[in-house]
């Protein structure tokens, strides 16, 4: 009974935290960008403007629930929920700390890859259902970008799988007791990070939205809470990728002195900030540059990385 | 070795003719003529050499043979052998072959190389059929003679040639394949009985076959030969093929291909299935008689000269069938005579038809008439062979039909009576030929030239032979005798004599 209660509590807390974090990240991003651009950012509502998040949420809820008459209605509504659901579901496999995880799947990594590839449906269906040229173009670009980087993301993780011998994330974390995988798999880490950014179509890889050319791309026609859903999905995605990077390459909860959950949160926070920093500092590449970069550079490097890792691991015994 | 040589001469001659046709239109016909002449010469010398043996000692049945393994895994050998019957038919083959080359001398103007290639290969196939003593080999040659014949009709025939060629080919091929099935059946029954899988004729001869199966197997053989012969329900290809074929084609069809059917019955059906053969003797004779009457009646009602002659063949071959199933020496001698004389007389009629067509450009007898005055020599010869066809004493056909009727009389009285009445019909249609073409009023055909030297040679050769056969048939009878005697002995219900290669030298 106790066990059941613990799990239920954990689930509820997790969901709550995640949704809050997603909202709170918006504030964080705006503040950080302002910081680096030498301006204030949101600073009126509440201390440091923290309450702007609540204000935004309320506003979104009361916005018109607009479904364009020319859109494919059902798909139009379902599309944004897919990405949110997929990302939220991905969190079940992340070991925040020993004992704090929902499902310790032995195919954890595959589950993560599977869920992250579901995200592409959101973009394609949303863009297509909007029946708008910008949206469609955004959707197409988004789709090709995401499925391309999907391949590299999977490949970049295989080095870690080889070293740890498991898809289970707890095993992977435990395998880093002595040495983080970022040391043995630096290339894998870099590739994964790049692929992760591309998967979440964050800046600088936000080609599906590209407001300057496609005016918000696949979600041009979206507004209100359905738009909010895409938004939540994106920020949850940042969190997810950061958490995965931490789990896979930076030893997860492992760390001296502090409680594991704090270590995990700290490390994740660093990467979230890194995401925001990247947005602030890098220009957006063209679609063709991004794709060619992926296929012509990342893919060969990822494959070579595997071979080299394999050879080293076998030589070591 | 001589036997192989005969086939090789024809086949290589054919290939050389085909190649030579590229250079010059007239090379091929010379090559063809030379090959046939060489073959005939070889055979005639051999015959003269063997004549004494045949005359004196009728035990020595097989004159010469040649054997060589071919596909040993299946017990297939390249086995050729010749007895008197084969020898006669072989000589006939080369004789008709020469005539065929001669009569297409001017007729064929296009693609001569390929034409003579086909002609020689037909002859090779026929010769092979008359010599093969291995059933597989026999079937092989049986097919080899078909394809070139198909081309001969299909390419150089007259207007309706493609249809006729198809019909000829499908009929003969279908029946041939049935025969092949029967051969295979025999092969396996023999193999299962004895453990020796072979296509050798002599070994297969004594095979013990369950009577029910034997009937089916014999029917397989019989159908193939019946189509070739042709026996009445299977004859429909014949008028078309004869009608449409070029002159040489008709000549070979009538002179040789029909003979292969009769030869097959004599050589294979009766020796391999003597018991069954006895069972079906009466129905077969009845079919033969039907053929005689039916052929004659239809011959009478034709207006197309070549078709008329074709139907006379049906009628004559009815005699052959009747004679074969009479199972006595007289009748069988008659059959052999009939084979030879029919080849000559009918062949001559076809050649005449060809010559007339060359001059008048028609085969329709309604458009002919009074040709005698125009071409007295042609008329005379035509008269001779019309008489031969009706069986005038003094000409070869008379001897043949007389012997057959005599033999059949011993076996079956009523059949003889009806068959004899067929002679009356033959008189009717033969006289009609003479009356419509050579006599009567002229039909405004204009001036037409009489025989040229080449045509004269052909006709002289044919006339001499038919007269010779009518006056002195003894060499033929002597030659065929040993084979026939054996056959008759084999057919005695209580005979234990095996029809095998007794003393081959």
């Amino acid at each position: 009974m106790n066990e059941v209660f613990r799990y239920l509590l954990m689930i509820v807390v997790m969901l709550f935290t995640l949704t809050t974090i997603a909202a709170w990240l918006i504030w964080l991003e705006r503040r950080m960008l302002a910081l680096w651009q030498d301006r204030y950012g949101p600073n009126r509502a509440g201390p440091f403007g923290l309450l702007i998040v609540a204000a935004d949420t309320i506003k979104l809820f009361f916005k018109e629930d607009w479904i364009p008459p020319f859109a494919e209605k059902t798909i139009f509504v379902i599309a944004p929920t897919i990405v949110a659901a997929a990302v939220l579901l991905s969190f079940v496999i992340i070991p925040f700390a020993p004992g704090i995880l929902v499902a310790d799947l032995n195919v954890g990594l595959l589950f993560f890859l599977a869920m992250s590839s579901l995200g592409v449906y959101s973009i394609v269906l949303g863009g297509w259902a909007s029946n708008n040229k910008y949206s469609l173009l955004g959707a197409l670009r988004g789709a090709s970008q995401m499925i391309s980087y999907e391949v590299f993301m999977g490949l970049s993780l295989m080095g870690v799988v080889m070293l740890s011998g498991s898809f289970r994330l707890t095993d992977i974390v435990m395998a880093q007791k002595d040495l983080w995988f970022v040391v043995t798999q630096p290339v894998g880490f870099v590739l994964f990070l790049i692929a992760g950014i591309a998967e979440t179509h964050r800046l600088p890889f936000d080609i599906p939205e590209a407001e300057s050319e496609l005016v918000a791309g696949f979600h041009s026609e979206y507004s209100g809470m359905k738009f909010g859903m895409f938004f939540i999905g994106e920020y949850l995605g940042i969190t997810l990728v950061s958490a995965m990077v931490v789990t896979i390459f930076f030893g997860g909860w492992l760390g001296p002195f502090l409680p594991p959950i704090v270590w995990f949160a700290l490390k994740t926070f660093v990467f979230i900030v890194l995401f925001i920093l990247l947005r602030a500092s890098l220009p957006r590449p063209r679609y063709d540059q991004l794709m060619e970069y992926g296929w012509k550079i990342i893919l060969p490097i990822a494959l070579l990385n595997l071979l080299i890792t394999g050879a080293f691991a076998l030589l070591k015994g | 070795m001589m036997l192989v040589l005969l086939i090789v001469i024809l086949m290589t001659g054919g290939v050389i003719a085909l190649l030579a046709g590229k250079w010059n239109k007239s090379f091929p016909r010379w090559i063809a003529l030379v090959s046939c002449l060489v073959g005939l010469m070889v055979l005639v010398l051999f015959w003269l050499d063997q004549h004494d043996v045949l005359h004196v000692n009728s035990d020595e049945n097989w004159l010469v043979q040649y054997q060589m393994t071919w596909i040993p895994t299946f017990g297939i050998t390249f086995h050729l052998a010749v007895d008197g019957l084969s020898l006669l038919l072989l000589i006939l083959t080369f004789f008709i072959g020469i005539l065929a080359v001669l009569c297409s001398w001017e007729e064929i103007k296009t693609r001569t190389g390929f034409y003579y290639f086909n002609l020689l290969w037909i002859l090779a196939g026929v010769a092979g059929v008359f010599m093969a003593m291995d059933l597989f080999l026999f079937y092989f040659f049986w097919e080899v003679m078909l394809i070139p014949m198909y081309f001969l009709i299909g390419i150089w025939g007259s207007e309706n040639r493609v249809y006729a060629a198809y019909k000829f080919f499908i009929f003969t091929q279908a029946s041939g394949l049935l025969m092949f099935l029967a051969i295979l059946g025999l092969y396996f029954i023999h193999g299962n009985n004895t453990g020796v899988y072979t296509f050798n004729y002599f070994e297969l001869m004594g095979t013990v076959i369950p009577s029910q199966t034997a009937i089916w197997l014999m029917m397989g053989f019989m159908v193939a030969f019946a189509v070739k012969l042709p026996i009445v329900p299977f004859h429909t290809w014949l008028p078309d093929a004869h009608g449409e074929a070029p002159t040489a084609g008709s000549l070979i069809l009538a002179g040789l291909l029909l003979k292969t059917g009769a030869y097959g019955m004599l050589r294979f059906v009766i020796p391999l299935f003597p018991d069954v053969a006895r069972q079906v003797a009466v129905p077969a004779m009845v079919l033969g008689v039907i053929g005689i009457i039916y052929g004659a009646v239809l011959a009478y009602s034709q207006t197309d000269l070549k078709r008329l002659v074709a139907f006379t063949s049906v009628s004559h071959m009815g005699f052959v069938l009747t004679g074969i199933f009479a199972f006595n020496e007289l009748a069988l001698q008659g059959v052999v005579m009939q084979l030879v004389t029919h080849a000559i007389s009918t062949g001559a009629l076809f050649i005449l038809a060809g010559m007339i067509k060359e001059r008048l450009h028609t085969r329709d007898m309604d458009l002919m008439g009074g040709l005698w005055t125009q071409m007295p020599r042609l008329g005379t010869i035509g008269m001779v062979f019309a008489m031969a066809s009706l069986g005038l004493p003094g000409l070869g056909s008379f001897i043949a039909e007389f012997l057959i009727l005599l033999g059949v009389f011993h076996a079956h009285f009523w059949v003889t009576v009806i068959a004899a009445s067929g002679l009356i019909f033959s008189a009717v249609y033969s006289l009609r030929i003479v009356q419509k073409i050579f006599l009567g009023p002229e039909k405004g055909t204009g001036h037409v030239p009489d025989f040229s030297l080449r045509e004269m040679i052909i006709m002289t050769a044919l006339t001499v032979s038919i007269v010779w056969l009518g006056l002195y048939p003894q060499p033929v009878i002597n030659t065929a005798k040993p084979a026939i005697v054996r056959l008759v002995q084999l057919l005695q219900p209580d005979s234990d004599i095996k029809y095998e290669q007794s003393h081959v030298r």
């Binding site: 799990y7 239920l8 689930i11 969901l15 949704t19 979104l60 809820f61 009361f62 916005k63 018109e64 629930d65 364009p68 008459p69 020319f70 659901a85 579901l89 079940v92 995880l101 929902v102 499902a103 310790d104 032995n106 909007s130 029946n131 708008n132 040229k133 910008y134 469609l136 173009l137 197409l140 789709a143 090709s144 499925i147 391309s148 391949v151 999977g154 490949l155 295989m158 799988v161 080889m162 498991s166 005016v215 041009s220 026609e221 209100g224 809470m225 359905k226 909010g228 859903m229 063209r286 679609y287 063709d288 060619e292 060969p300 494959l303 595997l306 071979l307 394999g310 691991a313 076998l314 | -």
Partner: protein
């Protein structure tokens, strides 16, 4: 579910979590449906095209290049499956497995090089091609 989840946690929290996620999302969407306002503006039934009137349908034919990407994804992703399996059983397979995967990856490289060489990996517009097509266009003589 047993095979999926050999140790560690029980399966039901996963199910509960999934259900909760969907419930939450449904709630958010439906709440906004009830709370949101309604209006009907002049151009609200037209797709947004930067303020100009709609030109043609949004169901356009698009470049086959996108199709090519999809195919490349399908093929490479399937091949990744084989690599994944190898990675998982990496230690058991040892050197023979390593050699095999070397051949396999070598093949992938060969395919990649091939695709590169035939231009399947050129996603941007090809300037030379465009120029060529442009030159072929039948222009009116400016003098007339």
């Amino acid at each position: 579910m047993e095979g999926l989840n050999a140790s560690g946690t029980p399966g039901w929290p996963f199910v509960v979590y999934t259900l909760l996620v969907f419930a939450l999302l449904t709630l958010i969407i439906s709440l906004s449906y009830f709370l949101g306002q309604r209006h009907q503006g002049g151009a609200s039934d037209q797709p947004y095209e930067s303020g100009i009137l709609e030109t043609g349908s949004a169901r356009l034919r698009f470049s086959a290049q996108f199709y090519l990407v999809a195919m490349m994804f399908v093929i490479f992703d399937i091949e990744v499956v084989f690599i994944v399996l190898w990675a998982l059983a990496f230690h058991e397979l040892g050197w023979p497995g390593y050699l095999s995967i070397c051949v396999f990856i070598g093949l992938l490289f060969a395919v990649l090089i091939y695709e590169w060489s035939i231009g399947a990996l050129n996603f941007g517009p090809d300037g030379k091609k465009i120029l060529k097509a442009y030159r072929k266009l039948p222009f009116k003589d400016p003098a007339i």
